[in-house]
């Protein structure tokens, strides 16, 4: 690697060729403020906050967009630079809804942080914001044009990672806005509610729809038994909200915090993840044995389900009929647990803590109701919303002692934990399917070929002489490739796992902000660590699951299962 020598603020630094000034400065301990820059995205260079002085250049240069050159002399804190950055921030503030204290991103806002760091106390410019209707049409995300700074991160995410292109710049000059074609409501376009836009938005222009108040109300209602489930991916990310290093596993504290908030029963979605493996695994075997539609596609990611229903409805027969773990849990909570503890299902208030915004949409679906009237999951909170609730309650998360989940839905396996990472459902399924089919014990439980951030992964498993090919895809641009492969008849797989979000659920749209590949890798690493730390690592060995079948469900794919744990999908093509 060729190294380039330059000076930044009179300090010599040597960095690899091709490094941007932004990164070179970081090496010397200088953070250059920026808004539109995102490490996983193409350089956009439109916010103009990261400008620096480069000797010999007539104008200031965007540090994100300028590569270092041998002998370059860079200054990041001259008066010219500071003045310019300040004016840019003031210009943005002058066209921004500045109700910061009441903003959902207060203290998590890139614009606010930079304004504070630069010592911007007011905008000297006239406020020119023309207030516009906030789009609350989607059950998952809220689009607030009044906060948008037009950085384009959401556009890139939606276009390039998810391949949907719901958002673009519409109009030009100061009437340019980031929105769906024709300014349609999100509910009226083929948005999948994945919320990836909200993860990369540096301000509060796109956020999750907040449902915290409903949960407080339920908790404070003495007639309600409030049960809560926590998704696998939440335990490896919630700590970030409280200053912990990415990749900390906080399962015990998570349970304790929910108890502190006043939830009556703290359960684990991991339990129904194990259940999903049993049902889905048997469905796969049935399809293979009875000549059903193959490849079978997983169904646990609601953003992905929204995608196939709207973009590839002709392939819906491939999708497993299994409900997602969240909805299996919801159905059990109201259709089994209520009865078990002798409470009217209507008095059960079922909450889920999810890394996901699309889960809000899923819980809202008509099909997701055991009694046909009330939702099985009453409210979905994202990881970020739970953190907000904890802050509202003044819970010092770091000080909490670790606690255990409640029975009967608290016991789970390593196979369930890895549902949170791309490839995890596949790996969990293989652990079970292999042993069920072959009757042998797996020597190594780790299917490394399906792990990691590569867009589409493949593996082959030898089920006692029968070679089964499987594939794993995450993010919808990769899902689209797989769909096209299936349509062309070239997908020789039996089973394909598809996750809507990059990295799987650990990279979900409801996760703490700052979703970069670097961060996602740390969460993934924690996920597999959590797997190995658990005593049981195969779903079919979960004793609580066995008991559930004995006591209630009977057998996988049985009649009760069919009623409670399976569903159907339908075309919603625009």
């Amino acid at each position: 690697m060729n190294m380039v020598n330059l000076t930044i603020n009179n300090r010599a630094v040597s960095v690899p060729e091709g490094t941007s000034i932004l990164h070179a400065a970081k090496e010397t301990g200088i953070t250059i403020p920026n808004l539109c820059y995102h490490p996983d995205q193409e350089v956009k260079a439109n916010c103009r906050v990261c400008v620096v002085e480069v000797e010999g250049a007539k104008t200031l240069q965007a540090a994100c967009a300028t590569s270092v050159k041998e002998g370059m002399v860079v200054r990041t804190n001259t008066k010219k630079v500071r003045d310019s950055r300040k004016v840019v921030i003031e210009l943005l503030l002058a066209n921004h809804d500045m109700n910061c204290p009441s903003c959902s991103k207060n203290n998590h806002c890139g614009l606010q942080e930079i304004a504070a760091n630069l010592g911007v106390r007011e905008s000297r410019f006239q406020n020119v914001l023309e207030e516009q209707e906030i789009d609350t049409s989607s059950p998952s995300i809220v689009r607030n044009q009044n906060k948008c700074i037009k950085c384009g991160r959401c556009i890139q995410m939606c276009n390039q990672v998810q391949g949907l292109a719901i958002l673009d710049y519409i109009g030009r000059s100061d009437s340019a806005q980031v929105k769906p074609a024709f300014g349609w409501y999100l509910a009226d376009v083929a948005c999948v509610a994945c919320g990836q836009c909200s993860v990369v938005c540096p301000v509060a222009a796109i956020t999750e729809k907040e449902d915290i108040e409903q949960v407080w109300e339920a908790i404070n209602n003495p007639n309600k038994t409030v049960v809560v489930q926590t998704a696998p991916a939440v335990r490896v990310s919630l700590g970030e909200e409280f200053g912990m290093e990415p990749g900390e596993i906080v399962t015990g504290k998570l349970v304790a915090s929910l108890r502190t908030l006043g939830f009556d029963k703290i359960f684990d979605t991991d339990f129904t993840a194990d259940l999903t493996i049993i049902e889905e695994g048997h469905e796969l075997l049935q399809r293979i044995q009875e000549g059903g539609t193959l490849p079978m596609l997983t169904s646990c990611s609601p953003g992905w389900i929204n995608f196939i229903e709207q973009y590839y409805p002709e392939l819906l027969a491939h999708v497993s009929s299994c409900k997602s773990p969240q909805q299996m849990f919801g159905a059990l909570a109201k259709g089994y647990y209520a009865q078990k503890i002798g409470v009217d299902p209507q008095d059960i208030f079922s909450v889920s803590i999810m890394p996901c915004t699309a889960k809000k949409f899923e819980a809202d679906r008509d099909e997701m109701s055991v009694d046909g009237e009330n939702p099985d999951v009453d409210v979905v909170l994202t990881t970020r919303e739970l953190a907000k609730m904890l802050r509202q309650a003044g819970v010092d998360f770091n000080k909490l002692e670790e606690e255990e989940y409640d029975a009967p839905f608290g016991l789970s396996t390593g196979a369930a934990v890895i549902f949170g990472a791309t490839g995890g459902v596949m790996e969990a399924a293989l652990r079970t399917v292999y042993e069920v089919v072959t009757g042998k014990t797996l020597e190594s439980l780790d299917f490394k070929a399906v792990r990691g951030l590569e867009g589409i992964k493949e593996a082959e498993v030898d089920l006692d002489g029968t070679i089964v090919k499987v594939a794993v895809a995450h993010s919808l641009s990769n899902a689209r490739k797989v769909m096209e492969l299936i349509k062309s008849g070239k997908a020789e797989y039996a089973f394909i796992e598809i996750m809507c979000c990059p990295g799987g659920c650990i990279g979900g749209g409801g996760q703490p902000f700052g979703g970069t590949d670097e961060l996602r890798l740390k969460r993934i690493e924690a996920t597999y660590r959590a797997d190995t730390e658990l005593p049981i690592r195969k779903s079919h060995e979960n004793p609580a699951i066995k008991k559930l079948y004995e006591e209630f469900l009977g057998e996988p794919l049985g009649e009760i299962s069919h009623h409670l744990l399976h569903t159907h999908y339908h075309s919603r093509k625009h």
């Binding site: 104008t59 004016v87 943005l92 002058a94 700074i149 109009g171 030009r172 000059s173 100061d174 340019a176």
Partner: protein, 423 residues
């Protein structure tokens, strides 16, 4: 008067039927192309380098160096683009060149293609120039018919063809990167692309982009030879310049003069001065993005070095004369409104800055401005110039800045009395 005029690029104007390739050929057209076909590619580039030709679009980059860079750049296919997105208010030379002598444009492009080994080119014509599009369309067809363009040009085995790309109404598309993304079928927003178009241009391939006038100069360089051509003009600025004279002047029009001619000569000796014996209040050079200067400065020569020494720019060649009746701030508002309308809206300083600059100018016009507004206006303009992503935002405040320099009383006299008294 007439000795000021030097007919090189305009020598065929009114002498030929622009719809007739034969007329062009009769007057020596495509001879330079034939000559170039016999030259080695580097010889052509060397002649252009020796001529000292600098781009006529405003940036004044040496054309020979640009061609060399494209030639050396890795990647294929490479493209030639003729920038005919003439949208700078006060400029009409490219329209005149295309509508009066279309084959001159084509000949220039083909010669460049021979030198750089490029197979395909676009002429990007702004959407408003419907007539230019039609004339160029016809000329291309004729050139193909006579073997000057297309497959196997003049039986030499060399292939080069040109397509016309029509804009749809956006000034910023004259900016190279915005022009490129427009051809790629996207909104013409200024994009950041790491290197220059010479190495990563259209579809990320090496691309030579030049102005219509630049391409039109090429055949004359080949005809006269680089050194021969270099005898026209001044030490820093070789050849002739097409000047677009407009505003409050007796004889507005397109004039071709050798570099070194002064602005005053153009206005008075060629343009006949201001009608009705009025005096000049100010002159804007280059177009909306150019500086405004008072009468005292008009002896500045049209010459890249001299302009630079005086902190002026000549852009692509407009001289807009405004007489004593004109209100400086009224004109500034009009200019800023133009940029406000044409900003692509991508980067903060330009998108938000122009809105605010208009508000500030209005305060001066209404007499409600304060001293703080004056300093805020200055710092805002500095930010726009220093930090905007492309030339539009960088140049948008030029007229206001120069007006502040040369006509400060126009601003200070309008600062709210109440506030001024307190100073």
């Amino acid at each position: 008067m007439s000795e000021l005029i030097y007919r090189l690029l305009t020598k065929n104007f009114n002498q030929i039927d622009p719809g007739s390739i034969d007329d062009y050929v009769t007057r020596g057209g495509y001879l330079s192309l034939k000559k170039a076909l016999k030259m080695k590619d580097m010889e052509i580039i060397d002649e252009i380098k020796a001529s000292g030709l600098k781009g006529r679009g405003g940036a004044a980059f040496p054309t020979g160096l640009k061609m060399e860079a494209v030639k050396m750049a890795e990647g294929s296919p490479k493209y030639i683009i003729c920038n005919a997105d003439e949208g700078e208010p006060g400029n009409f030379k490219d329209r005149y060149l295309m509508e009066n002598d279309p084959h001159q444009v084509i000949e220039g492009m083909v010669i460049c293609a021979i030198a750089t080994g490029i197979r395909f080119g676009y002429i990007f014509i702004r959407g408003e120039y419907v007539k230019s599009q039609k004339i160029m369309e016809t000329a291309l067809e004729q050139a193909r018919g006579k073997g000057f363009l297309g497959e196997n040009i003049l039986n030499t085995g060399f292939n080069f063809d040109i397509d016309i790309y029509t804009g749809a109404g956006s000034y910023v598309c004259g900016e190279e990167f915005a022009l490129l993304v427009t051809i790629e079928g996207k909104s013409g927003r200024a994009t950041y692309k790491p290197p220059f178009p010479t190495t990563m241009g259209l579809y990320d391939k090496p691309t030579q982009i030049n102005n219509v006038e630049t391409f039109c100069t090429i055949p004359h360089i080949i005809e006269l030879g680089g050194t021969g051509f270099g005898k026209i003009g001044t030490a820093s600025s070789k050849g002739t310049k097409l000047v677009c004279l407009s505003g409050n002047v007796k004889r507005p029009g397109l004039y071709e003069v050798p570099f070194g001619t002064t602005v005053r000569q153009v206005i008075y000796d060629l343009g006949g001065g201001v009608p009705n014996n009025r005096t000049i209040k100010m002159v804007q050079l280059g177009g909306a993005s150019g500086p405004i200067l008072p009468d005292e400065m008009l002896d500045v020569a049209i010459d890249f070095d001299e302009m630079r020494k005086n902190d002026l720019t000549f852009g692509s060649g407009a001289i807009i004369v405004m007489d004593e009746r004109i209100d400086v701030l009224d004109i500034l508002k009009r200019i800023v409104q133009f940029f406000h309308h044409e900003s692509c809206g991508k980067c903060t300083p330009c998108r938000e800055g122009l809105t605010q600059l208009l508000i500030l100018i209005d305060r001066f016009i209404e007499g409600t401005a304060s001293m703080q507004d004056l300093s805020l206006m200055n710092i805002l303009m500095d930010t726009m110039t220093n930090s905007s992503i492309c030339g539009l935002g960088q140049a948008a405040p030029t007229a206001v800045r120069k007006a502040l320099e040369y006509f400060p009383e126009e601003f200070t006299s309008r600062i709210s009395n109440h506030v001024a008294a307190a100073m």
